[in-house]
């Protein structure tokens, strides 16, 4: 799948933003000015991510229509979930900043909505049967783990951040390991795609140039590059931030850990798209391979 920068920015930033909001709702929030900066950062990431996703659209001016189909569409549900979360956490933030009041019930509701929003975002990808690498319960688990890890580091909860960093590292590796063979396991090959029997190869492409399908779904990442990027990703997303925190619960350690971790999530999300293969590639003669 084409790793579109707007979608990578959206999922990484809004994920971290909603993850932070969840922990702020669960008791990490201060009051007054410190709370202002906390919520400013969380809302900037969450809303910034959502705004960047709009650049992905062909006709963003009709965006409000996307709220209508929540009964069937995960993308529509995401619209509702993110607006509901921002409203509830907005009220919570106003109370904390201006009235020095932490409203625990509102915070718990907001935290649940934050996690739900990340879950709904992940389901946009996890629902795609056409992309076997994504079509797994591991996808929502991975998205939520990324969000909560970022939230825990930003909230400077030392033990939770450390546990989540290690857990996320293990989860990331298991996502890759189980995702690598899923395309072939589902039985998708050129024979099932075309219904023809025997050894098939593409004799002639339907078009001499490129097209939307190849631009969107034809992305292939070189396997040796993917292997290198996976090592870089694991170091950044989990190992290095964890080592950073082992030096102690110092604000600088948390700051550096967050910077490294977020960079790692960017690499991870790029791989999430770049390594994902869409079944339509089979019609273009690209057989199932492990990576």
């Amino acid at each position: 799948m084409h790793p579109a920068p707007s979608v990578i920015l959206f999922t990484v930033l809004s994920g971290a933003g909603f993850g932070y909001l969840a922990l702020l709702g669960l008791g990490a929030a201060s009051t007054g000015w410190p709370a202002f900066w906390q919520f400013a950062l969380a809302f900037a990431m969450a809303v910034g991510g959502l705004v960047s996703s709009v650049f992905h659209l062909g006709n963003p001016q009709r965006g409000l229509l996307a709220f209508t189909q929540w009964r069937t569409s995960w993308l529509s549900r995401e619209g509702w979930a993110s607006v509901a979360t921002l409203l509830v956490m907005g009220l919570f933030a106003i109370a904390a900043i201006f009235f020095a009041a932490i409203l625990p019930i509102l915070g718990v509701i907001g935290a649940a909505l934050s996690v739900a929003t990340v879950f709904v975002t992940s389901m946009i990808y996890a629902q795609m049967k056409t992309v076997p690498r994504w079509n797994s319960p591991l996808t929502p688990t991975y998205f939520i783990a990324c969000a909560l890890t970022a939230g825990a580091i930003l909230s400077a909860i030392w033990s939770l951040a450390l546990i989540l960093l290690v857990a996320l590292g293990l989860l990331q590796v298991s996502c890759w390991m189980s995702g690598d063979g899923r395309f072939a396991q589902r039985g998708h090959d050129m024979n099932s795609a075309t219904g023809l029997h025997g050894q098939i190869r593409m004799f002639e492409s339907p078009h001499s140039g490129t097209n939307y399908l190849l631009q969107e779904f034809g992305f292939q990442v070189a396997r040796r590059h993917a292997a290198k990027l996976r090592v870089i990703c694991i170091c950044l997303i989990s190992v290095l931030p964890a080592i950073m925190l082992l030096f102690g619960a110092h604000p600088i350690a948390f700051g550096l850990a967050f910077a490294l971790h977020l960079l790692g999530v960017f690499v991870s999300r790029w791989l999430f798209f770049a390594e994902a293969r869409h079944v339509v590639q089979l019609y273009y003669g690209r057989e199932a391979v492990a990576a």
Binding site: L65, K129, T130, G195, H197, G198, P206, G209, E216, F217
Partner: protein
């Protein structure tokens, strides 16, 4: 509404005969022509006369080479591919705006372009690559089964079929109601063993494909006779001299 209808009164669709298709791409061109001039936004091309032309098409013809299992003559199969108007269309339910829908009366899957935000999710959900985003309009384009032809009483009756079917010079494309077991297309599917593409995706396509018939095989003495030995004849006269002279150079 992007909920799929429980059932559709009819299941209009195509039956494509892979045995007959000659790969001339006439269906591709007539589709592009009709759908550029009629329903919805025209099918645009980018850089049409430049170095890297790219455009929107609703129908594409792939060509494959097949070596049959257990030996035999290799075959070239031309493989036209367009929207299969699936009963369980995954492209419809993912649509956040309600732009994509499946008609309860005839099962045609359409896009209301005025409601399409161009998010591209329906194209992701389609296993067949049947949907292409139009780069000029930013809306999703797909086969309409020529909904503006098949019910169009301003056209001659013979023309009230999809443009691709009307134009196919080989008679490889058939249009009809696949929900009616007595229709010509349903009988053709039953007779020839029509099949679904990528059935493991669970989309229940309405369009069916007819398999290519196996190629004739050489039988009897013709199949077992050894290949003729190639006779080597040494040149004589002028040609022999030319041969020798050229060798020396």
């Amino acid at each position: 509404m992007t909920a799929l209808p429980e059932r559709t009164e009819r299941k209009l669709g195509l039956v494509i005969d892979l045995d007959t298709c000659v790969g001339c791409h006439a269906c591709v061109i007539s589709c592009k022509g009709w759908n550029t001039e009629n329903y919805g936004a025209p099918l645009s091309d980018m850089d049409a006369y430049g170095a890297d032309p790219v455009g929107t098409f609703l129908n594409r013809v792939h060509s494959y080479e097949i070596e049959p299992e257990g030996g035999g003559c290799a075959q070239t199969v031309h493989f036209p591919k367009s929207c299969l108007h699936c009963e369980d269309a995954p492209c419809v339910t993912v649509c956040p705006t309600g732009a994509s829908y499946k008609r309860a009366e005839d099962g045609i899957v359409l896009v209301n372009e005025d409601a399409c935000i161009g998010c591209g999710l329906c194209a992701w959900a389609c296993p067949y690559g049947a949907r292409e985003m139009d780069r000029a309009e930013g809306v999703m384009k797909k086969c309409t089964l020529c909904v503006d032809r098949i019910y169009n009483e301003n056209l001659e009756e013979v023309d009230r079929v999809p443009a691709c079917v009307r134009t196919c010079p080989a008679g490889a494309r058939h249009f009809g109601d696949l929900g009616d077991p007595d229709s010509t297309v349903s009988q053709l599917v039953a007779e020839r063993g029509g099949f679904d593409l990528m059935p493991e995706q669970g989309t229940k396509p309405v369009n069916k494909y007819l398999p290519p018939r196996p190629k004739d095989r050489l039988t009897g003495a013709a199949a077992t006779a050894p290949a003729l030995p190639t006779k080597r004849r040494d040149a004589t006269g002028f040609l022999a001299w030319l041969d020798r002279t050229l060798e020396k150079i």
